[in-house]
């Protein structure tokens, strides 16, 4: 699958000629020693994350085993988004292995920037299928990276929305269990909320949090994604969801609760300034960090509440893919197999606290289960349940190519409504209009609503 470059050919020829001339015979080449990609240098882009720290720690073993040198560029999520998009759009092969951000998967896969992995998986010379065990990836985590049967990335991170909460505060308010519905949660938050302790806290990426309400109330971003992308923010269901969600932000969150990054939201829980925290597992799990809080023994975890139309926890997934423009595709695949492999993921779960993993075998592992069980809350099971639920297909709205700009507009709308700049009806009407404009500008045929 890889050609030989002229420069590489000339270099090899020169070395061979020199060895012949001096009478030196190489005793055994690296390729013969089972290292066909020895000397290859790979570059990888990756969000700054504990999983990447784990990769770096164990990278020397991989490099010694394969002879491949890997440079991992860790960067913040906003930088990663911008940089990967630019690198891919320009056809740059600077990065061989890249992180497939699931909300950009529609655009990147659609544009042909991600190399299909099936030829690598199906080639017995390149892959030990039993060891890779593609079926071990939970379907919900794999879904954003598949188009039909074609796989474009292997997932390493799946973040599922869950709730971390203070059992003592809810019990004091008369709740033996965490409320099962969003409306019950709102009632509980109203009872608990004081100037000192907020009833609820979440992070500021509102296009990730709001859909927990939106879908549960029967709404969606689009009419029938991916077939019909007509925005549906002005439906009665969407308006009801927006009303309840923005009330939680406006009335029962801490001061400035519309704009809290995950660290601050976690710190608020650590200091006992909020009764519950709804966010991705990767963030929520940190509220019981005993180095940062003395309240860990009063916290527990549970699934997100449901709405009248059911339970729709959200799932964010990130994977590793081969850049179509890479000149080292086989070596890149060798690295991906290792990086998303069972051994690395299990090690990461046990040693780096990487609970938001994507392999069912890791989440079923007894040691992992024990490590991530807190006061009766089995976080691994909670996470696995969300992945399975999301595998039913409702997350497809996030992987349409036009989601990112529409999602950004959702954040603006929710912020405007929650901060009182506009009311729910006008805010959602304006969101609908803007979303229609975004879709039409992108050349998507929609059915304008009024």
């Amino acid at each position: 699958m890889e050609g030989i470059s002229r420069r590489r050919f000339l270099r090899s020829s020169a070395v061979a000629a020199a060895l012949t001339a001096t009478g030196v015979r190489p005793s055994r080449t690296l390729a013969q020693a089972g290292k066909p990609y020895a000397g290859t240098r790979l570059k990888m882009s990756q969000v700054a994350h504990a999983y990447a720290v784990g990769l770096l720690e164990r990278l020397p073993a991989f490099e010694a085993q394969t002879g491949i040198k890997v440079e991992i560029d860790q960067m913040s999520f906003p930088v990663l988004n911008q940089r990967e998009d630019l690198e891919l759009a320009s056809g740059s092969g600077a990065y061989d292995v890249m992180q497939l951000i699931f909300i950009r998967s529609g655009r990147w896969i659609g544009a042909g920037w991600a190399e299909p992995l099936n030829p690598f998986i199906d080639d017995a010379k390149l892959t030990d299928k039993a060891a890779l065990d593609v079926g071990d990836f939970v379907a919900g985590a794999m879904a954003p990276f598949k188009r039909g049967d074609t796989i474009y990335a292997l997932p390493w991170l799946s973040d599922s929305t869950v709730v971390g909460y203070r059992t003592d505060l809810f019990e004091k308010a008369g709740y033996a269990k965490f409320p099962e519905t969003f409306e019950a949660l709102q009632e509980a938050a109203a009872k608990i909320h004081t100037r000192q302790t907020a009833g609820f806290v979440t992070e500021d990426n509102l296009h990730w949090i709001f859909p927990n309400w939106l879908l549960s109330y029967g709404g969606n971003f689009f009419a029938n994604p991916p077939a019909d992308l007509t925005p549906t923010f002005d439906t009665p269901e969407a308006l009801k969801a927006a009303e309840i969600f923005t009330t939680m932000l406006a009335k029962y969150s801490p001061p400035g609760g519309i704009k809290l990054d995950p660290s601050v939201a976690q710190a608020i829980m650590h200091q006992g300034k909020a009764a519950c925290y709804l966010d991705g597992m990767g963030n929520t799990q940190h509220i019981i960090d005993t180095k940062k809080t003395t309240l860990a023994d009063q916290m527990a975890f549970t699934h997100t509440p449901r709405g009248p139309k059911g339970h729709f926890p959200q799932l964010a997934v990130h994977g590793y893919f081969i850049n179509r423009a890479s000149k080292n595709k086989n070596a890149a695949w060798e690295f991906i197999k290792w990086a998303a492999g069972k051994d690395q993921m299990l090690w990461s779960a046990l040693n780096k606290g990487h609970l938001a993993c994507t392999r069912s075998s890791v989440l079923a592992n007894a040691e992992v289960r024990q490590k991530f069980t807190w006061r009766g809350s089995d976080l691994a099971s909670l996470h696995l349940a969300v992945m399975k639920r999301a595998g039913e297909g409702y997350m497809v709205y996030r992987t349409v190519p036009q989601f990112p700009p529409v999602g950004d507009r959702v954040i603006i709308a929710m912020t405007a409504i929650a901060s009182g700049q506009t009311n729910v009806a006008d805010g959602m009407k304006s969101l609908q209009k803007d979303a229609e404009g975004i879709l039409e500008k992108a050349g998507v045929k929609i059915n304008r609503r009024g």
């Binding site: 570059k43 969000v47 700054a48 994350h49 504990a50 440079e71 560029d73 860790q74 960067m75 913040s76 999520f77 906003p78 930088v79 911008q82 940089r83 630019l86 320009s90 740059s92 600077a94 991170l157 990054d261 995950p262 660290s263 601050v264 976690q266 710190a267 608020i268 650590h270 200091q271 300034k273 990767g282 963030n283 940190h286 180095k291 940062k292 809080t293």
Partner: protein, 271 residues
């Protein structure tokens, strides 16, 4: 001296200083707090300071980013002055056809926001192999700093009476001699001001560093953003890095403040 008016002035000045310096104080105190202390509510003034955030930065890759910032900003400043100051002198003293047009065109890189030039520069740099190199950043910074140097220094040269140089010509000096021995020393405060502005523009650049670097030439402003991990933001490191970025600029400004004040007020009371 002790009139109520004086007390108001002192109080007002103190308030103004407090308002202006509060963000700096906030960042510096946050940089010596632990992660747990950083967001304690209500904030406490009594805490045990720690240098751990700085230790983490020194042990990580941030120092390399800081070095990249230092090299690119310093080189850009020197090159921009080396090329821009003689050009400004020429615009001030020489008379040639289309002078106004040429002078205006030197501003073309500042006629649109940086993002408008971002993609073309990226594509050109990709072909030239200048992505993720210090040289690449220096060239980019030079393109938009040169016009600043030319336009700022031209105004300072315009304020120097031509008769001084004409006297030098009579004494046998050439154009270069008059420029170096007469005009340049008289515009020293302006030179210092221009140098600092040029340095600051390069030092604080985020956009070009973001799109034209990857890991080798990444500068401090972009490196700071990379402390915003996917799971949580490392505010302690962000604050420590921000403090380290501020220090050289504050130091430079303190050392050169006399020239800066002279430069900014040059000609203010002249007719």
């Amino acid at each position: 001296m002790n009139s109520p008016g004086h007390a108001w002035k002192v109080g007002g000045t103190a308030l103004l200083i407090f308002v202006v310096l509060f963000p700096v104080f906030f960042i510096v105190q946050m940089s010596v707090r632990t992660g747990l202390e950083a967001f304690r509510m209500p904030p406490t003034l009594s805490f045990t300071p720690t240098l751990q955030n700085y230790v983490d930065l020194v042990e990580g890759k941030f120092i390399r980013a800081l070095m990249n910032s230092t090299v690119t900003a310093t080189s850009t400043t020197l090159l921009a002055l080396l090329l821009g100051v003689p050009a400004a002198y020429a615009f001030s003293r020489a008379r040639f056809r289309a002078q106004g047009l040429v002078s205006l065109w030197t501003l073309c890189t500042r006629m649109a926001p940086a993002i408008a030039f971002g993609i073309p520069f990226f594509l050109i740099y990709k072909e030239l192999g200048l992505i993720d190199t210090r040289v690449g950043l220096i060239v980019i910074y030079l393109t938009f700093n040169l016009s600043l140097v030319i336009w700022m220094m031209r105004a300072f040269f315009d304020a120097v009476p031509r008769s001084l140089e004409e006297a030098a010509y009579i004494d046998g000096a050439g154009v270069a001699g008059a420029f170096v021995r007469i005009a340049l020393p008289l515009t020293a405060p302006g030179l210092a001001t221009t140098a600092i502005f040029t340095f600051l523009l390069s030092w604080n650049d985020f956009f070009y560093s973001l799109i034209l670097t990857r890991s080798e030439a990444v500068t401090a402003p972009v490196a700071i953003v990379n402390f915003m991990n996917y799971e949580s933001w490392e505010w302690g490191k962000v604050a420590a890095a921000a403090t380290m970025i501020m220090l050289p600029v504050v130091g430079l400004s303190v050392v050169m403040r006399k020239y800066i004040v002279h430069g900014l007020t040059a000609g203010a009371v002249k007719g």
